[in-house]
Subunit: 231 residues, 2 copies
């Protein structure tokens, strides 16, 4: 079960969030003091931490900094409206996402789900995986770090390989641009960042050299998809 720790001095807000998240099946705990929150956070007993920037006793950014000395636990920052500076500093310190107050519970749950899903994706990457995967005319050989199209070897750069491997290992599922960026490029997707699009474009060109029919589909606003099976 996913367990969430919320560190926020606004008791009414934590109670509201508690109701929503417990309704959604999350284990939830809230504390209202910075130092107490840090201790709990360092215990690694939670899958996700909701962290208010404005805290009595200890600033949220300071807390995050200290937490990052010990733990990579995902952190979703909560801050006063549009405080762009906090946002930038927070993301630099390793927060996973940012949500401005006031937020709707619906939006909070959506962000939480996105983070949890990505963490699961990452953990899945660490599991032993099939060393060879076949998707239609594409064949992945991860031992040799090569991908073939109908027995032709694709000449891919390291980044292109990582992206295509991800798509192949999740063939049939949509892979979001945010996930692709974090897992293959190692950075969060920024507004107006088109580099992932370019990589996709280049991969498509290289595949099309050998098989015009094998296509990476675009799902506008959602991500990319490699269809598998008979069509």
């Amino acid at each position: 079960m996913t367990s969430i720790l919320m560190i926020d001095d606004d008791v009414a807000l934590t109670q509201l969030v508690a109701e929503y998240l417990q309704l959604d099946g999350y284990q939830f705990k809230a504390v209202h003091q910075g130092p107490e929150g840090l201790e709990l956070a360092k215990s690694n007993a939670f899958n996700l931490i909701l962290l208010d920037i404005m805290l009595p006793g200890m600033d949220g950014l300071t807390l995050l900094k200290q937490l990052r000395q010990h733990s990579y636990c995902p952190v979703l920052m909560l801050t006063a409206r549009g405080d762009e500076i906090d946002r930038v500093v927070g993301l630099e310190l390793g927060a996973d996402d940012y949500l401005a107050k006031p937020f709707s519970p619906r939006e909070l749950v959506a962000r939480i789900k996105a983070i949890v899903r990505r963490v699961e994706l990452i953990q899945q990457q660490q599991q032993p995986q099939l060393s060879t995967v076949q998707v239609n005319s594409l064949r992945l050989d991860s031992a040799k770090r090569q991908i073939f199209v109908q027995d032709n070897t694709l000449i891919l750069t390291a980044t292109e390989y990582q992206i295509l491997e991800l798509l192949m290992r999740h063939a049939g599922d949509v892979v979001s641009k945010e996930d692709l960026s974090q897992l293959a490029l190692g950075k969060r997707l920024q507004l107006y960042d088109r580099s992932l699009d370019m990589h996709i474009s280049n991969i498509r060109k290289k595949i099309a050299q050998y098989d015009e029919g094998e296509k990476i589909q675009t799902l506008r606003g959602l991500g990319y998809l490699l269809l598998k099976g008979e069509h």
Copy 2:
């Protein structure tokens, strides 16, 4: 099975690491005291040791120094963020790699795998091997310690011979620069160290004297590769 010993006083961290490594199929044991750790480490019962630099009772670097009197067991150092001095001293004392806290479990597993793979490569080198290997127009005669190109003897230095032998014995696979440096040059690859590149360059020139077609391929960011088989 690969068994790993972790020496770190942070109990929560060792438990976290334990979960991840056991999930990945490693045998794992953790101790939280320096002296106890040294005793266990000296037993040679482990394939790899994760060693924290900051330890109560006995400093990690001191421990490493004493361990190296008895054992060549691979050591991966764990240290506070960016403590460059510890890093340098540690690597000089014979640590195999270095990881700054906090690290992601994913990164830890990747480093562990890299070390284990290299150790296996070294052990493989020590096994009895085929005394002659043929790769396209290249022929290795390890009894004579010579390499021929289409019946022409290559005049190679000791280092060049070792590098080319490694590439030939792993023809078809990428051999990383890190591995080549450690196995053929006997030292870790440092940033801006170009000596391996020079050896490769010289080997290429000598091969090209006799066969323009026989090429050592470069895989940017990965290593070098000697392609084998019909083309």
